[in-house]
Each structure stands twice: as structure tokens, then as C-alpha cells.
């Protein structure tokens, strides 16, 4: 999807309609990032993982 950047993960989630609290784990190009991380590249792969049990 096309989004204006730079943008924080938190704001990206809002834009696509995902409540950040339901996205405990976000990967940017395969690396775990917190939700204040700023996406400042033109092309990135963002993976959002929902709540998972702890065992």
C-alpha cells in the first residue's frame, strides 16, 4: 500500500485501522521494532503480528 513517509509505526497502524494495542509485535523488513519507530524509506515490508499466548 502507498503511504506518505516518514511515518511512525503507531500512525501507520491507525491509518490502516489497526488498534496498536492489538499489535504486540511489528516487524519492519524482518526486524522487530517498537511502535515509535519511524519508517523513513520508500519501500519496506511491515509485518503485524497479533496477540500470541506465552506458552
Amino acid at each position: 500500500m502507498n503511504i506518505d513517509y516518514p511515518i511512525s509505526i503507531k500512525n501507520l497502524l491507525y491509518k490502516v485501522g489497526i488498534t496498536p494495542i492489538l499489535a504486540p509485535m511489528v516487524l519492519v523488513d524482518g526486524e522487530g521494532r517498537d511502535k515509535d519507530f519511524i519508517i523513513d524509506k520508500e519501500e519496506v515490508e511491515v509485518t503485524v503480528i497479533g496477540p500470541l499466548a506465552g506458552g
Binding site: T19, I21, L27, G30, G32, T47, I49
Partner: protein, 639 residues
């Protein structure tokens, strides 16, 4: 030959030393598939009613599933069952590693042990050769110590399971240990082995398992590994394993803290998965054939001592960490090591120790009672109490009974904050704003265990839907308050989870590939077919899981005096004391709300208002024999 199974049940009577091998019961296979299904069926059919958990007649069962032991993702689970010392009812527990796989290679799907050895012993199995050997030299020693020594004595090819001193001393939350860090932790399974004078089982197997379509299995197995590697969770979840959930649980106000007094721990960022990677981990450690090794083997150094240890996993972080207010991941890891070596379940141990610490803080237990000053957040206090418990010395004799037994004995209102259901201690999810988790915990067959149901994500989603959540930001920062989660609509989600999670215990595989990584159920259906030659739709597996759920309820009805609805409530703290701080400040689930959920839950399950399965429900699952016994007894009593 039954494809997917080794084909033999091994029966060992320790009193008579009689060892019998018999063909695996085809009815068990057809109707209960394996693992937890076998345990449930065998316990109901073969355990003499009203046997005490420590009677010689109690059964100690190891049961594998059709997917165990193949080169498929995470097929290394070993399933145990017995009448639980913790609850007095149905009990099962499982562990990863390599033991059960080897048991199938030795030729056995099921091992049923009863009786009691005349002296401390271990069971030696090398394919067909089975012996009961003296374990006098191992008795009293720690689990890691014994596993290491037995491997040195017997060889690395042997897989060893052991109990620690806690199991020998019949601590009601003692565990079985294996593979230097894997445990079957729950329900006091280790104490049953201890009651039978069995310190360990050593097994070596050199056989193989017949499969219906070997080429198909090879092809599908490779495909499954490939599919897992492509899942986002493979990269996202695996590095931290289960500990990766710590921050999120804290952010949503579900992290048990200070004996469940609250659900938010301000030091959570010091005890999370990242802290493990930075301060402890040496290497990943996985179970048999697992592509997502969640074990984090490492080294910890503290003022109390240092150790090589696997973990801690999330549940251990929650119960030994935040719930006892340990603020340092290395201290938690060391407490984890002490529990493993002594042979106690880290979940129950954390709940018991934190309960004792609260009793001490409130002046209910004194320095004289305990033997020294103790405090939350103090590793020395924890190590002291854990050792007392394992040896049943001083205050340890009381605490070894678990929080239900201990609180019932001393009274003074301590029952209100004894975190258990049915006698099994609550695990890592504080649930005063998580109605689904609450319902899952209180209705679980073995007591308060997350392995039967996990719907916290649904609860939080319900909470998120219930109000404006746009300011609820995770990511390590203090969160705003969460709205009260919705109680309505949780019952079907809970029941679905209660059938899905234990389904993997029936197949004999780890649920994490599905639960955490998102492997589709179609893989399990297709793998089941190439292994067994039988078609099994996922819905059919869930039906078996539901049947087991009903059978276990009937077992509890038969074995626990007065069993019914009154056994399905949380401790009063959870419905009387609002959460004092954190994201869920002010929230609780009222008793009336719990009752509404229970009414709906029983109705959806086809149980009466007291939580007793109706005759037609049992018959609907093919449990006519159970219905006949239950309702004939009722009829006779009413006459």
C-alpha cells in the same frame, strides 16, 4: 499394525515387578486418537474409583499420539496423566524434549505404571529389555544432577525423565524434568512418581514407526517445514520465544504482580524477552524436530548463586518474576533453576511463594512461622522458601500442600488471595479485565491452567471495542487506562479455545506451530492422513477434544466429593478487589457476571446448572457407558 503407532501398551506393576506388553487397544485409537485422549479414557476406565493420588493403585500414564516421533515440526511432546495430587481430580501434563519420541522408537505408545517399588528405583527400558533398577544412589539428588549422572552411566542415547527432591517428598506441585530444562510441570505429576518410589525413567529406542504413506509423509513434511519458515511469526516470534509476550501482557494489564494484587509491573522491561537475549541466552534450544526453538539456554549469575539454565519462559517470568516482584531477569532465571533442580513447577511455586510473602506482609505468618524475615522482590527469600518446600521442612511442609491446602489450613481470610482453581495454582494471566481468560481458567478440567484456553487477545479486542482506545499505545510506555472488557459473547470463544488447544495434546504435537506461527489446520489433516491412512477433518478432531472434555468432567464428578459448580470459581480477590493500578485500574469481574458466564457456558456445553453433563450430552459423544454409570447411580441414590 496400526499406522502412526508403535502398536504396544506397556504395563508395569511396581509392587509385583510384573511387566506386560499388550497390543495397543484399537478402540482407544479409533475413539480417542492418542495422548490426552488416551489418558482420559484409561483413567476413567481403569482407575479404581476414589483411589487416593498417592495410593499404590493410582495410575501413572505416559501416552503418545499418532503424530509423535515423525520428522515433522514439533512432534516431540510427551503426555502424562494421573489422578492429580493437586486437585484430587483428572490430571494431565506434558513436556517437550525427546523422551516420548524415544518411547515410540522403543515400541510403546502407552506406558501404564501402578503399584509401588519396594525401594527407590528407576525404570530402565532399552527396546524390549525392561528392568526396575535401584535408584538409591540418586535419591535425594536434584533433577539436573540425576539426568547428567544417568546419561554418564547409561550413555547419551538414553532419554531420561526424573523427579527432584520435591517429588520424593510428595510436594503437591512437583514436576517431571527432562532434557535439562523441559518439564511436565502441572498437577503434581512428579509427586505421583515419588509416591511410587520412582526417581527416573531411562529409555532408549532403536525401532521405527510404521506410516501409511512414507513418500507422502516425506513430501508433506518438507512442505510443512517450508510453510513454517515462510510465516511472519517464524522471524518475529522465535527469537524471544514465549518470553516475547511479556511487555504486551503488562501493557494490557494482565501481568500477575505481587501475588495477583495487581496486574501491572513497573519493572516489566527488565524481565522481558529482550532482557533474556541481552543478559542470559547462549543458544536457542528446541525439542525434537522443532523449527522454532523457543528454549533459550543460558547462564545466570546472581548474589544467591549462578547456573546454566533453560528459560525462563513467559509463565515463569510472570509467576516467579512479577508475581514475586523480582525485578532482574537473572534473578528470575536463578529461581527458575532452583525450581527445576528441586523439581517443582515454576508456575505453582511462584503462586505459592507469593502467597506466603503476602501472608508475611500482612502479619498472618510471622518470622517464627517462616524461620526468617522474608520479602517480595528478594531472591534469597525465594530460594529459602523453595528449599523449605522441596524438603517439607518448617513452613515448607505447609506450603508443599499448594495454596489451597495451605490457606485452608491457616484460614484468617488467606483463602481470598490464594490464587487457584480446584487446587491448581493460577498461571500467568491476571484476569480481572479478561472475562474470557477468567472463564477459561475457572472451567478448565485440571484447574487454573492456560494450556486449556487462551483468549486474552479476544478479551483485549473486546476491551478495545468497548471504548475509545486510540490512546492505548503499546511499546514499552506507560499505557492509558483500558475500558472494562465485555463479558457478553465470550462463551463460544472460550469453548472453541478449550477444544482447540488440547487437540494438539491428543495428536501428540506442540500447539505452538499453530497457535504462535499460524500454521493452517489443513497441514495437520493432510499429515494425519499420510501417517495413519485415515481421513480426519479438523472438526472431527475438535469433536474428540470435546468428548475428552466431557469425560474429564465426569471423572472429576466421580472422584471429587461434592464436585460441581462451586468448584468453578476464582478466589474472592478476583471478584471483590478492583485492580489497584495500571491499565486495568478499578476493574474486576463481579460475581454476578461470573455466574452469568457459567450459566451460559454450562448451557452451551449441554451441562445442567450445576455443571454436570446431561445424559443426552454424553450419549451424543458416544459416552453411553459413562452416562449409564452416572445416571444409574443417581437413580439408585434417589430411590
Amino acid at each position: 499394525m496400526i499406522y502412526g503407532y508403535a502398536g504396544t501398551t506397556l504395563r508395569i506393576n511396581l509392587s509385583s515387578s510384573e511387566i506386560k506388553k499388550e497390543p495397543l487397544n484399537k478402540k482407544w485409537v479409533d475413539e480417542f486418537i492418542g495422548g490426552r485422549g488416551f489418558v482420559s479414557k484409561i483413567l476413567y476406565d481403569e482407575l479404581p474409583p476414589n483411589t487416593h493420588p498417592f495410593d499404590e493403585e493410582n495410575l501413572f500414564i505416559i501416552a503418545m499420539g499418532p503424530m509423535s516421533g515423525h520428522f515433522l515440526p514439533a512432534t516431540g511432546k510427551t503426555h502424562f496423566g494421573t489422578k492429580s495430587p493437586a486437585t484430587g481430580g483428572y490430571g494431565d501434563s506434558n513436556m517437550g524434549g525427546h523422551f516420548g519420541v524415544t518411547m515410540k522408537y522403543a515400541g510403546y505408545d502407552v506406558m501404564i505404571i501402578d503399584g509401588k517399588a519396594k525401594e527407590p528405583s528407576y525404570i530402565y527400558i532399552e527396546d524390549d529389555n525392561i528392568e526396575i533398577r535401584s535408584a538409591n544412589k540418586y535419591w535425594g539428588k536434584g533433577s539436573f544432577d540425576v539426568e547428567k549422572k544417568m546419561k554418564e552411566e547409561l550413555g547419551e542415547d538414553f532419554q531420561i525423565l526424573t523427579i527432584g527432591p520435591a517429588g520424593e517428598n510428595l510436594v503437591k506441585f512437583s514436576c517431571i524434568s527432562h532434557d535439562f530444562g523441559r518439564q511436565a510441570g502441572r498437577i503434581g505429576i512428579g509427586a505421583v512418581l515419588g509416591s511410587k518410589n520412582i526417581k527416573a525413567i531411562a529409555i532408549k529406542g532403536t525401532g521405527s514407526i510404521p506410516v501409511f504413506d512414507p513418500d507422502g509423509l516425506l513430501k508433506k513434511g518438507k512442505e510443512t517445514y517450508y510453510a513454517i519458515r515462510q510465516k511472519p511469526g517464524f522471524k518475529g516470534w522465535t527469537p524471544q520465544g514465549t518470553a516475547g509476550i511479556t511487555d504486551w501482557c503488562n501493557d494490557v494489564g494482565a501481568l500477575p504482580t505481587k501475588n495477583f494484587q495487581t496486574s501491572y509491573f513497573e519493572h516489566a522491561s527488565k524481565i522481558n524477552g529482550k532482557a533474556i537475549l541481552e543478559r542470559i541466552k547462549i543458544t536457542d534450544k528446541g525439542c525434537f524436530a522443532c523449527p522454532i526453538p523457543c528454549g533459550k539456554y543460558g547462564y545466570t549469575k546472581t548474589k544467591a548463586g549462578s547456573a546454566y539454565v533453560e528459560g525462563p519462559e513467559f509463565e515463569t517470568i510472570a509467576l516467579l518474576g512479577s508475581n514475586c516482584e523480582l525485578k532482574d531477569i537473572e534473578e528470575i532465571a536463578y529461581a527458575n533453576y532452583i525450581c527445576d533442580e528441586l523439581g517443582v513447577d515454576t508456575c505453582s511455586a511462584g503462586a505459592v511463594v507469593s502467597w506466603a510473602l503476602e501472608c508475611y506482609e500482612k502479619g498472618i505468618l510471622t518470622k517464627e512461622d517462616i524461620g526468617k524475615d522474608v520479602a517480595f522482590g528478594d531472591l534469597d527469600s525465594m530460594v529459602y522458601l523453595l528449599n523449605q518446600i522441596a524438603k517439607r521442612e518448617g513452613i515448607g511442609d505447609l506450603l508443599a500442600e499448594g495454596v489451597r491446602g495451605a490457606s485452608e489450613r491457616i484460614g484468617k481470610g488467606t483463602e481470598k488471595f490464594a490464587a487457584h482453581v480446584k487446587g491448581l495454582e493460577w498461571t500467568g494471566y491476571e484476569s480481572r479485565n479478561a472475562p474470557g481468560m477468567m472463564l477459561g481458567y475457572i472451567t478448565a478440567d485440571i484447574g487454573a491452567h492456560h494450556g486449556r484456553c487462551w483468549v486474552l487477545g479476544n478479551d483485549v479486542a473486546g476491551s478495545a471495542d468497548a471504548g475509545n482506545v486510540h490512546d492505548l499505545i503499546t511499546g514499552g510506555k506507560q499505557t492509558s487506562k483500558l475500558p472494562k472488557a465485555k463479558v457478553e459473547g465470550v462463551v463460544p470463544i472460550v469453548i472453541s479455545s478449550q477444544h482447540t488447544r488440547p487437540a494438539f495434546d491428543i495428536l501428540g504435537t506442540c500447539r505452538l506451530q499453530y497457535m504462535e506461527i499460524g500454521l493452517e489446520v489443513s497441514y495437520y489433516e493432510e499429515l494425519y492422513y499420510v501417517i495413519t491412512g485415515k481421513k480426519l477433518k479438523w472438526e472431527d478432531l475438535l469433536k474428540v477434544s470435546e468428548k475428552v472434555w466431557n469425560l474429564n468432567r465426569c471423572f472429576n464428578l466421580r472422584e471429587i466429593e461434592g464436585f460441581g459448580r462451586k468448584f468453578d470459581y476464582p478466589p474472592a480477590r478476583f471478584y471483590e478487589e478492583p485492580v489497584p493500578n495500571g491499565p486495568n485500574e478499578g476493574h474486576l469481574i463481579k460475581l454476578e457476571e461470573i455466574d452469568v458466564m457459567l450459566d451460559q457456558f454450562y448451557e452451551a456445553r449441554g451441562w445442567d446448572k450445576n455443571g454436570i453433563p446431561k445424559s443426552e450430552t454424553l450419549i451424543g459423544f458416544g459416552l453411553e457407558d459413562v452416562a449409564e454409570k452416572m445416571y444409574r447411580i443417581s437413580l439408585e441414590e434417589s430411590c
